[in-house]
């Protein structure tokens, strides 16, 4: 019988994976910092692919056993799918785990896990400092900073839905209880916020949350959070802005 239907097909496409930039080789500290991140949004990080960036470590001549770190990441629930900026030994180890080596791009605009990075060391900039600062840190001679575009959402975010924005997140509709919105930058909700809102999720302590009607289950900026239990009755159902001051969340009514 003649069968002309193809067995397979190649399509060109892009696959998104977060990049984990390591600044220290203390595996226990890395594990702790990551676990904290994951606890904030377990569903979001569950089975997430991950590219491991070792350039910073190798610049400082800090050695790291790649097999060991890959094991730690798998245990937490990540899937390491690539290594970048590794030394010869680390690349060999990655190959032995069938993890591809990314040598093509020598620059990165990726964010980082905020914990490993001391906020005092990075000059706070105004709107999107995170990407900029890291980029300068890695390659001072690089091109102008790339700003992540803001994400605009106009339909309601219902219970069980999750939105993640790499830049600012602007929401025009209500966010239901049981919904989760996250942004590496600021979050604006021009409506009622009943769900969980996490701004500056990659450690941007300058990120802010603005909303018209605060009834949130949880608010967080760069990992510092408050649950609805901790929210003051005075600002309940009020238009507010939320920002971080010395690791304390400040909630202020917008008059």
């Amino acid at each position: 019988m003649l069968n002309t239907s193809p067995v397979l097909e190649f399509k060109s496409s892009t696959f998104f994976a977060p990049i984990l930039i390591l600044f220290k080789n203390d595996i226990a500290a890395i594990e702790l910092a990551l676990q904290e991140k994951v606890n904030l949004a377990p569903e979001f990080f569950k089975d997430s692919p991950l590219i491991i960036d070792l350039r910073e470590l190798n610049k400082q001549n800090l050695d790291l056993d790649f097999i060991q770190i890959a094991g730690v990441l798998r245990n937490i629930g990540f899937f390491p799918v690539g290594i970048r900026g590794g030394n010869e030994q680390q690349n060999k180890q990655a190959s032995s785990l069938f993890i591809p080596i990314d040598t093509a791009r020598e620059q990165t605009n990726a964010g980082t896990t905020g914990e490993a990075q001391k906020p005092e060391n990075t000059k706070p900039a105004l709107s999107q400092p995170e990407t900029t600062v890291i980029k300068e840190l890695i390659n001072p001679a690089s091109a102008p900073p790339i700003y992540a575009a803001a994400t605009l959402v106009t339909q309601p975010i219902r219970s069980g839905q999750r939105i993640y924005a790499t830049g600012d997140l602007i929401i025009m509709s209500q966010v239901s209880a049981g919904a989760e919105i996250m942004a590496e930058g600021n979050i604006h909700v021009y409506n009622t916020l009943r769900g969980r809102a996490l701004a500056g999720v990659h450690g941007n302590t300058d990120a802010r949350i603005f909303c018209f009607d605060l009834q949130a289950e949880l608010i967080s900026i760069a990992g510092d959070y408050k649950t609805s239990e901790d929210l003051n009755k005075q600002i309940y159902k009020k238009p507010v802005q939320i920002y971080l001051q010395n690791h304390a969340l400040i909630i202020k009514e917008i008059a």
Binding site: Q155, I157, G160, Q161
Partner: protein, 270 residues
């Protein structure tokens, strides 16, 4: 091309099947050729409410599996010749429902019918997801209590993200609220949420409020959809729902005590 309506809720026992039977009958009575499909495999009771349980020979799954033609499985309603029922199987397991199979059957039916009403099972699992996947319109059946409102909200999220329209980036499913088993006395006494409470959370276009009514149970015992009982308030409310869905502007009835305990607890915002 038929318009596909899914009657859905997330939470069980809120009145989806009662609603499916009523609105399918209402649309048919208005002269639109309508078929109502029971997606609740293993727990069929749409045929009971429509009083055709003793005429079931083949079912939805037989059709999907190619064991019967659609025309063999469709049952014509005894009260209205514009209404047909495609019953669920009571015996087979749910895995027989596949997206491809459901899609084929709906496509066939679309050629012949004006409206296809899909009676969704409870939950947010496969059966419920398949019932809504191909929908154009969604009737979100909600009772005036927190758990039901929460589940409806969850369902609305699925409607806007996991449907064919969402996947194809087409115009989203049109979502309507149907507040059922509304008991004005219990709303007034603060035992139940009021319409305003529910709308504060869901903010949907309200298609109607169906009052709690004994006539619903007696109608389903008799196998005659409650919409055919013109004396019943629930029947009248369902008739209004159908008329509004078809574009008539009617004031809402059966709605005393709009403010339930949430409002009284926190006060209005205006």
């Amino acid at each position: 091309m038929a318009r596909i309506i899914v009657v859905t809720s997330g939470k069980g026992g809120v009145g989806k099947t009662t609603t499916s039977a009523a609105i399918a009958m209402g649309l048919a009575k208005k002269g639109h050729k309508t078929v109502v499909i029971d997606f609740d495999v293993g727990l069929r009771n749409l045929d009971l409410i429509l009083g055709c349980e003793r005429r079931v020979v083949y079912d939805f799954i037989n059709v999907i599996n190619g064991e019967a033609s659609i025309n063999q499985a469709l049952i014509r309603d005894k009260n209205c010749n514009q209404l047909y029922i495609l019953p669920a199987s009571q015996t087979r397991d749910k895995d027989a429902l596949t997206q491809e199979g459901v899609g084929k059957v709906l496509e066939e039916l679309s050629k012949e019918f004006d409206y296809i009403v899909c009676d969704s099972p409870a939950g947010i699992e496969k059966g419920a997801n398949l019932a809504l996947y191909f929908a154009d319109d969604a009737f979100v059946v909600t009772n005036p209590e927190i758990s039901s409102v929460r589940d409806s909200d969850r369902m609305l999220g699925i409607l806007s993200s996991k449907s064919r329209r969402a996947e194809r980036n087409e115009e989203p499913i049109k979502e309507y609220l149907l507040l059922t088993r509304y008991d004005s006395d219990r709303v007034k006494s603060g035992e139940m949420l009021g319409l305003d409470d529910v709308q504060e959370i869901l903010s949907l276009e309200l298609l109607g409020i169906i009052p709690e009514s004994k006539s619903v149970l007696s109608a389903s015992n008799a196998g005659i959809p409650v919409i055919l009982n013109e004396k019943s308030e629930a029947g009248q409310a369902y008739a209004d729902v159908v008329a509004r869905y078809l574009g008539e502007k009617l004031p809402h009835r059966f709605i005393d005590g709009k403010q339930g305990f949430l409002r009284r607890l926190f006060g209005g915002r205006k």
